[in-house]
């Protein structure tokens, strides 16, 4: 027997704009210009994002609210703080909306960050609490549903989320991963309700709506409402990133018209719009293991998390180490945004976000700029640490000062952007690579010249095996951290 179609739909509008790093900065700029880490055009770019994406999106949301529909809003802390500090008129519009009785705010990490990937959940808890506090201050209501972005979540974070007062959490039900699971039901993980976004229906609007080659183009509100009504399940959860409203001309008009007409079309098919908190009481269909969705376990960052290439991995490791090297916590947290890592990928955007494609060069350029920004922050804080020489040895290195492993015939494909990463690579570099560099004294020259650690450089010069060198470096890293902490 066929399952009945959905009669409820939750629409979330997601609004987020991070602090991007300055991609045109050179390493020496740091010493000339104070505010070089984050984009020089941040304010102007944020203004464009507001006027081109957020305000058109809000117009559509108002039309929904005026006709009695319900909408949830996922607004990051970084957007709200930029609105409050720089765009007071526009802030009022958004803040008024947060207080609307038919609007529910969704909880998230304040910086929409990768903090959920750190082995220690402390930073994650801090950012979630900070965001929830901010929303409560602005709307008078604390978010009840938490959203895990870009798979950056794992089962171990369920208990902290529950302890923070959340009643359920959202994650992404990509049908690539959920081949046998229907995302349109409530599930349960560690006795905690899990809501899955319907990625296919989200992407129909966010990615395929404007695609002239799509066999369903042009998509009308009537067609979409019919799909919703015919889709088996209890409730469909759609997410739309405000960025998808960022179109111009006739395209923008047709898109806004589609969104504005959707409630009426949904009603004609017997589908009502609801808030996520009204759904979480549904009996769970089955117990879900987040690892099945590609969620990572602590300490193992897998290919299906937000970290899926080696540059992202290097950047994440450097960011993790920077916790004790950057005393300016605000900058460190801004550098945790998922968007930085998305820009180091060749392709990103899914489940309601617009697709973004980068060339290898663009991804590499952002990775380089990111490490440069991280290194600048670390250098700026170095003199305030307990041991500046130890901080220098442990800090991250942008590509121009990283150690690039070579076999004599070719680049191996990986570079050490910190002493810690260097020790990780020593564990598996082929013997010929170790011998090639050791014969040229490359290791000791890099450790002495770039990291400034003559003690370690002297010891490494005498090593005959990579495992021996890895052991020495690990020991030294521990000594250096002991000097700093």
């Amino acid at each position: 027997m066929n399952e009945p179609g959905c009669r409820r739909l939750c629409l979330e509008l997601s609004i987020h704009y991070p602090y991007f790093v300055e991609t045109r900065a050179q390493r020496e700029d740091v010493f000339r210009e104070e505010d070089i880490i984050f984009s020089r055009s941040q304010k102007a770019d944020f203004g464009k994002y507001l006027s081109r994406a957020v305000l058109p999106a809000m117009d559509c949301i108002f039309s929904w609210l005026d006709s009695g529909e319900s909408v949830s809003l996922g607004v990051s802390g970084t957007v709200i703080e930029q609105l409050i500090t720089e765009e007071t008129d526009r802030a009022a519009v958004l803040l008024d909306t947060l207080q609307h009785p038919s609007v529910e705010s969704i909880g998230q990490t304040y910086y929409r960050s990768v903090a959920g990937l750190f082995p220690d959940p402390g930073e994650f808890i801090f950012q979630v609490s900070r965001h929830a506090d901010l929303i409560e201050d602005l709307s008078g209501r604390r978010p009840g549903v938490f959203e895990a972005n870009e798979f950056v979540f794992n089962s171990a974070l369920i208990d902290p989320i529950r302890d923070l007062g959340f009643l359920a959490f959202y994650t992404e039900g990509s049908d690539h991963l959920l081949s046998t699971m229907n995302p349109n039901y409530v599930y349960s993980c560690h006795n905690f309700p899990v809501l899955l976004r319907n990625c296919r229906l989200s992407e129909d609007i966010a990615q395929r709506f404007h695609d002239h080659t799509w066999d369903r183009f042009p998509l009308t509100a009537e067609t979409y409402a019919r799909w919703v009504a015919e889709t088996p399940g209890d409730c469909i959860h759609i997410r739309l990133d405000a960025g998808v409203f960022s179109t111009t001309g006739d395209t923008a008009r047709s898109f806004e018209e589609f969104i504005c007409r959707l409630p009426q079309a949904l009603h004609s098919h017997g589908v009502a719009t609801v808030l996520p908190s009204s759904v979480i009481g549904d009996p769970p269909r089955k117990v879900l293991h987040l690892e099945e969705l590609g969620m990572c376990a602590p300490g193992t960052v897998t290919a299906l998390t937000g970290i899926h290439n080696m540059h992202q991995q290097s950047a994440f490791w450097c960011l993790e180490d920077a916790r004790d090297l950057i005393i300016d916590r605000e900058s460190w947290r801004r550098l945790q945004s998922i968007d930085h890592f998305a820009r180091m990928a060749f392709a990103s955007g899914s489940c309601g976000r617009g697709a973004m494609w980068s060339t290898s060069q663009e991804a590499y350029d952002y990775f380089s700029a990111y490490l440069r920004a991280l290194a600048s922050c670390e250098e700026a804080c170095r003199d305030e640490t307990r041991s500046p020489p130890a901080a220098r040895a442990l800090q991250c290195q942008p590509p121009e000062t990283a150690f690039h492993f070579h076999s004599g015939f070719r680049f191996t494909g990986y570079s050490a952007h910190s002493l810690q990463e260097f020790s990780r690579f020593l564990e598996f570099i082929p013997d010929e690579v170790f011998q090639y560099h050791q014969e040229r004294m490359d290791f000791s020259r890099w450790i002495s010249g770039v990291l400034g650690d003559d003690t370690l450089a002297g010891k490494i010069a005498r090593c005959t095996q990579s495992s021996e060198a890895a052991h020495l470096v690990q020991e030294r890293i521990q000594e250096l951290w002991d000097l700093l902490r």
Binding site: S174, L304, N309, Q312, F346, S360, F409, G413, Y414, V433
Partner: protein
């Protein structure tokens, strides 16, 4: 019909001499038939005859200066073994490929089945050859197809090929694909730890080629594609596993590229690599079936393959793999396209696994072969086209 007494002639097996994809195909077929019938397997190998997994193996060690002489001696020695075991007489005598063609000739009055796992034309990359061995082998293949009571091919492509090459009528041919035991190829492991053993970064995308390094398998096309892949995605690493006469030349061309040639690797290492890689590439110029494809799917790996033969038939494009024309730039496009999408690449691998479980399981293949034997024994095979698809 009760249990049959079946003879299988094949010059290789998993339990003695192993050359390529023919040995698992023939050995596993014998084993699955052995669960219901009395199966004897006549093949090359050392040591005394023995029973392994319900199949009686009869070994011989042929000699000969040329491949033709060698195979004539193989037929002669296996026939001796066959006659020793032919009491009571075998109900069905099944030959795999041309190597035992002389034995088939001698046994042409019995109930015989000839399986084409490939053709000499296909092994030569879809080209005719004018050298004596090519002609001698092709002649034997032609003769086998006409002498046998019924013919089996591993794909429609091979069916068409032997109809065209050797004039074998369609009604005498049944297509039965190779089966696979997917559980033999799936290994839950941490891909990063395997990559590290090869000096590869755990998050570097790894593309695997496994197969003989010969013209038919197209490793040179892959090597030509690699620089184009690297232009779009610099961090991709390649492992080319297998041996063959093209190895030295290919290694020379790849000196400055992120490519490792492992040569022959034992099964255990193959399983580790298969399960650790991100993508399997099958750049064959001609592929009657493409066992590597079902092995990749068993390990839930997506494949980029050339749009030829059994690969073209079995892959549903952009659902469980990507098919490309037999060109280096097309291969490069296919690899670059899918390697950038880790979610989709995984989804295609899982879709392939589902197909393996439903279409290529040995129990099903065994039943299909049973039907062919039944028709041969009942003498109804000449009147109608095979239906065991």
């Amino acid at each position: 019909m009760g249990p049959l007494k079946i003879a299988q002639f094949c010059w290789e097996s998993l339990h003695a001499v192993r050359e390529g994809g023919l040995s698992p195909a023939a050995t596993h077929l014998a084993e699955v038939l052995g669960t219901e019938h009395e199966v004897h397997f006549f093949t090359r190998g050392e040591g005394p005859d023995r029973i392994i997994r319900n199949v009686a193996y009869h070994f011989c060690q042929p000699e000969g200066d040329t491949i033709i002489d060698y195979c004539q001696d193989l037929s002669r020695k296996l026939l001796q073994k066959f006659h020793d075991a032919d009491t009571p007489p075998f109900d069905i005598i099944h030959f795999h490929d041309w190597h035992c063609s002389d034995a088939l000739e001698r046994l042409q009055d019995r109930r015989t089945v000839m399986s084409y796992h490939s053709t000499e034309y296909g092994r030569n990359g879809g080209n005719f050859g004018d050298w004596p061995e090519f002609q001698a082998i092709s002649a034997r293949e032609w003769r086998c197809g006409h002498l046998a009571r019924h013919v089996v091919t591993v794909s429609r492509h091979t069916e068409t090929e032997i109809m065209w090459l050797y004039g074998i009528p369609e009604r005498r041919i049944t297509v039965i694909p190779n089966g696979i035991y997917p559980e033999h190829y799936y290994l839950p492991l941490d891909p990063g730890s395997v990559k590290k053993r090869y000096g590869i970064h755990p998050l570097a995308p790894l593309v695997l080629f496994i197969g003989r390094l010969v013209y038919q398998k197209g490793p040179d096309l892959l090597v030509d594609a690699i620089p184009q892949v690297l232009q779009r995605r610099w961090d991709v690493q390649f492992i080319i596993a297998g041996k063959g006469d093209m190895k030295r030349d290919l290694e020379e061309r790849c000196r400055a590229l992120p490519v490792q040639f492992t040569g022959y690797i034992p099964d255990e290492e193959y399983l580790q690599l298969l399960n650790a890689c991100d993508l399997v590439v099958i750049p064959s110029r001609n592929e009657p079936f493409g066992l590597v494809l079902t092995e990749a799917w068993s390990a839930e790996k997506c494949a980029v393959a050339t749009d030829v033969g059994g690969l073209a038939e079995n892959i549903e494009d952009f659902v469980d793999g990507i098919k490309v024309p037999v060109r280096a730039d097309s291969l490069a496009w296919g690899i670059s396209y899918i390697i950038e999408d880790p979610v989709r690449i995984r989804a295609m691998g899982v879709a392939g696994k589902r197909k393996v479980l439903s279409r290529f399981n040995w129990a099903r293949i065994g039943r299909m072969m049973d039907k062919v034997y039944t028709r041969v024994i009942s003498g109804t095979d000449d009147g109608s086209r095979g239906s065991g698809r």
